[in-house]
């Protein structure tokens, strides 16, 4: 695609980066068929191809964006399904970040919008504030019907109660022979909403030979605000994470940075770019990004310490968009879950977002709900007894639309390798444990049940 930026515009690094990305798009249009908002609306401007044109026009014109353009960019999930299918590798992820930052700097939203977005951006990344606001939201329950749609949505999304969150900061020694030393990022809202994920992750990693350090003061990674276009807040958060890990990083005593929220992992792996305008931290950010790993990347099926029996629970594995489309991790979580003895089901339309998408289900309730219901129906259609995913946002979103137990992949792996029964499964009628048949670490899925002879559709 041809662009028309002036030399002055191209002097801005953000515009120069956008220019390079825009030129790669040739309008093949594969992205449209896999874009959730396009599939649901059939509006070309609700598809990546249309949004790319709108972004191009917005940036070329400069100044205040057209409200219609802002609406179409806001309604993008940033699920990056388009990037998986794009034949020419258009870097839509960074293009949409640039567009959102431009909107944030150049567009004055209506007052209600500004207040809502400000509230969300300041609340979710701060566990203490999130806890206080959740209590406040519960007080608003009796009057929720009187609230405007989007505010009512926030109240609806607030948890009924929050579990106690243990303080994990400090060093957790490895069990058995030490395989390495990793820093675990606890995330932000995850600490308040689902602290069992971090607790289970620490158990899982230490059980498998990792010394885990949980740094103090790391806090939010910046992903949440980055995708809202709030670049300043995002880079400040990223800088705090880099600073919190710098000493161990520079001492060379860190083998990996473990992330168990895939939305965060995507951004941490991109820290060099996030902090590209911070010369004092850019190099450290790059080093940190280079060793950032999703928790499932740290474990191989053959390395798992398996009890003698397995619980053959049928689990529908949900690919979080940030894991499958941004980090391109699809096989490893499935291989690990299968290796510990679960029967793993793929979910139809796996490339589709569940509607969580960072702040999306807080700010775009209608589309988020449509996608959440669609995903939940697909999950239930598998006949699985539980759902697993590697991202808290997805688990929380899916929970709104199905009663099936939802568990983080790390929580399931922890249980299957010796950890306690997860709370989410306490009321589930679990299958009886069976002796482990296949050798530990078998990455291949078990063959689907197929009676020999005439029972199946074919004979081989």
């Amino acid at each position: 695609m041809r662009t028309d930026f002036s030399a002055d515009q191209l002097a801005d690094p953000g515009i120069a980066a956008a220019d390079g990305i825009l030129k790669t798009c040739v309008h093949y249009g594969f992205c449209t068929a896999v874009c959730p908002t396009y599939v649901l609306t059939r509006d070309e401007n609700e598809a990546p191809r249309g949004r790319i044109d709108l972004i191009k026009a917005m940036l070329e014109k400069g100044g205040r964006p057209d409200p219609r353009t802002v609406g179409h960019i806001d309604s993008c999930l940033s699920c990056n399904s388009c990037m998986t299918t794009c034949a020419v590798d258009v870097d839509y992820l960074h293009l949409s970040d640039i567009a959102r930052a431009h909107i944030e700097e150049n567009y004055r939203r209506p007052l209600g919008d500004r207040l809502l977005r400000g509230l969300v951006a300041r609340t979710i990344p701060d566990p203490a504030r999130f806890t206080r606001m959740s209590r406040l939201a519960r007080l608003a329950w009796p009057i929720r019907a009187l609230l405007p749609r989007r505010l009512r949505n926030l109240v609806d999304l607030a948890p009924a109660s929050l579990p106690p969150a243990p303080d994990l900061t400090g060093v957790h020694p490895a069990e058995g022979p030490r395989r390495g030393r990793v820093a675990l990022l606890q995330g932000c809202v995850q600490q308040a909403l689902a602290p069992e994920i971090n607790v289970a992750t620490v158990r899982l990693l230490t059980r498998h030979g990792f010394e885990v350090t949980v740094p103090e003061g790391a806090g939010c990674c910046g992903a949440f605000t980055l995708h809202m276009g709030k670049t300043g807040m995002a880079t400040s958060a990223a800088a705090r994470v880099v600073d919190a890990l710098t000493a161990e990083l520079e001492a060379g005593s860190l083998d990996a940075v473990a992330v168990n929220a895939s939305g965060c992992g995507t951004v941490v792996k991109d820290y060099e770019r996030v902090l590209e305008r911070d010369p004092s931290r850019r190099g450290k950010a790059a080093a940190l990004a280079a060793i950032a790993r999703d928790v499932t990347e740290l474990l191989a099926p053959e390395d798992l310490r398996l009890p003698e029996t397995a619980v053959p629970l049928v689990v529908a594995y949900h690919d979080a968009c940030s894991l499958q489309h941004a980090q391109k991790i699809r096989k490893r979580p499935r291989a690990l879950l299968r290796a510990v003895g679960f029967e793993v089901k793929d979910i139809p339309e796996a490339h589709f977002c569940c509607g969580s998408a960072g702040a999306y289900n807080l700010l775009q309730p209608d589309m988020a709900e449509a996608l959440g219901r669609r995903k939940a129906a697909h999950i239930e259609s598998t006949g699985a007894a539980a759902t697993a995913a590697g991202n808290l946002g997805c688990l929380a979103q899916i929970a709104r639309f199905t009663a099936l137990p939802r568990l983080h992949t790390a929580v399931l792996l922890d249980w299957a390798t010796g950890g306690p029964l997860p709370a989410a499964l306490r009321d589930t009628d679990l299958p009886a444990p069976v002796p482990r048949a296949s050798p530990p670490g078998s990455p291949e899925p078990p063959a689907p049940p197929r009676p020999s002879g005439s029972g199946g559709p074919g004979i081989w």
Binding site: T24, V26, T32, E44, G458
Partner: protein
């Protein structure tokens, strides 16, 4: 013609929300990858049922408006979802008619609407326990199964022939009448043989609706293959361009006896490597020259592939059980003295070969779409002649094609999909559509290729929209007259896709 009147009537019949005339929509529905430019339609309609399709056809007859039906619009390299001419009203069947109507897990068939993609059916079969698989292309996973079958698209497994392995249609003719083919033509509701028997009383009409414009297929039966417990691929790479002759001779007997159940994918270096990386030589010549042999050899070395690579697969009860067949294939291809064997496990780590494995396994994949970025600018046209499985002839065609590509400064990228007697040659013409000179060379090359192959008795299996008339003009006059006569009988006002495949 009264497009305005038609659209008003269509809004009333289908609902205003299912008639789209937004500028951005019309622009996108006219986009394609051809050198001949985009073709903007006048409107896009989203019918939701066979009845609504029939209503649209009836209105088109009343208002003398041309319709252009598409399913999912993924006909890449052949026209995407663009009509052959501007100003038609697109019937987008993919938006609302995307239901899997029936799956029979005893008899092994599915009945689908036009919007059902390879991915959707594969997902559904997996959800049901994975005992069946559908044949998939190596093209976009969101490609439509009906559109592909009707355009004579193909996969790579035993059920590769997507039209041949379809059975039983529901069709809205250009007259507005709706027919069912085969045993579906029986009046009544109990149509137990509709999707299991092609041969019933009377003429076999199904073939009329492949690569034509006589009707709009709204339902199709698709046969499914029992999924084997294990699929084990094998790959052999050969160093020299002229090794194609030996390769074809080696493949033929393995397919003639069906020792190998899949087709063979016989891909050249730039076809495979192009799915992974863009041309490293393009910038140096600004796209004016073909990649040099030295650069090609360097790419081969970098990617561990030779000039030609053959891929196939066995189906069996377990990976181990297929070891004797694998050994037989290794011995057979090794007999030429030039083949390097690439085992299944090694191939899984090569994206270019992983695509072949996925295709043999009924797994939709995006991998091969990377071919579309070999050159910048988004131009892509597919030339699809074929060769008898005679090594000498196949190699002669290879030299002929390669020479024409090089004469026009383009890069020879081809995959021969080989059966026992015939191989379809998927020739990719990748060019910069934003460069008028490259567009002109792509057009020249396509015409030169078609002329040269035609002179040797070879037509194409599928045609891009730019050259429908060009190809039809090569056929014998009496055949052309017959096509026209059928058109007038089934679509007297010529409202369905006039000009598609050169039929008016």
């Amino acid at each position: 013609m009264s497009m305005d009147g038609f659209l008003r009537a269509a809004q009333s019949e289908l609902g205003a929300e299912h008639v789209n005339t937004a500028d951005e929509t019309l622009a996108r529905y006219g986009e394609n990858t051809m050198p001949g430019g985009d073709r903007r339609p006048a409107a896009v309609l989203y019918p939701g049922s066979t009845g609504e399709v029939a209503a649209a056809v009836r209105l088109a007859n009343e208002h003398k408006v041309p319709l252009f039906p598409t399913s999912t619009g993924n006909n890449m390299g052949l026209g995407t979802r663009s009509a052959p001419a501007e100003g038609m009203a697109v019937l987008d069947l993919g938006r609302r008619m995307n239901r899997i109507l029936e799956i029979d897990e005893r008899l092994g068939f599915a009945a689908v609407e036009p919007g059902v993609s390879f991915q959707m059916l594969a997902d559904e079969l997996k959800r049901r326990g994975g005992q069946w698989m559908n044949s998939t292309t190596s093209g976009p996973p969101q490609g439509g199964m009906i559109g592909n079958a009707l355009d004579k698209g193909a996969g790579y497994g035993p059920y590769f022939d997507h039209f041949g392995f379809s059975c039983g249609m529901e069709v809205v003719l250009g007259t507005g009448a709706t027919i069912r083919t085969g045993d579906g033509s029986i009046a009544g509701e109990s149509l137990v043989n509709w999707h299991v028997s092609k041969y019933s009383f009377g003429p076999i009409l199904d073939g009329l609706f492949a690569q034509s414009n006589y009707g709009i297929v709204t339902r199709l039966g698709i046969w499914l293959l029992p999924r084997p417990p294990a699929i084990r691929s094998f790959h052999f790479t050969f160093p020299d361009d002229d090794d194609l002759e030996a390769i074809v001779e080696l493949c033929r007997p393995l397919k003639m006896s069906n020792f190998v159940p899949t087709l063979f994918r016989v891909s050249n270096d730039l076809y495979l490597i192009g799915s992974e990386v863009p041309s490293p030589a393009y910038a140096a010549s600004g796209g004016r020259e073909s990649i040099a042999d030295e650069a090609r050899k360097a790419l081969q070395a970098e990617h561990g592939l030779g000039s030609w690579t053959v891929s196939g697969a066995f189906y069996g009860p377990s990976m181990e059980a297929m070891e004797p067949q694998i050994q037989r294939a290794v011995d057979h291809f090794g007999s030429a003295g030039k083949a390097t064997y690439i085992p299944h496990e090694e191939a899984l780590a090569k994206p270019a070969l992983e695509c072949a494995i996925a295709s043999f396994s009924g797994e939709p994949t995006h991998t091969e779409l990377g071919l579309l970025k070999w050159r910048p600018g988004g131009g892509n046209a597919w030339f699809t002649p074929g060769t008898p499985m005679d090594g000498r002839i196949a190699n002669e065609f290879q030299k002929l094609g390669r020479g024409i590509y090089e004469a026009n400064g383009l890069d020879y990228q081809v995959m021969n999909v080989a059966g026992p007697r015939f191989a379809r040659g998927l020739h990719v013409i990748s060019f910069n559509r934003e460069d008028p000179d490259e567009c002109a060379r792509a057009d020249t090359a396509y015409r030169a290729l078609a002329e040269a192959f035609f002179a040797r008795g070879v037509a194409v299996g599928r045609a891009p929209i730019d050259w429908y008339d060009f190809h039809m003009d090569k056929l014998m006059p009496s055949f052309r007259d017959a096509c026209g006569a059928i058109k007038r009988a089934l679509d007297p006002n010529g409202v369905i896709a006039p000009g598609r495949y050169g039929i008016y």
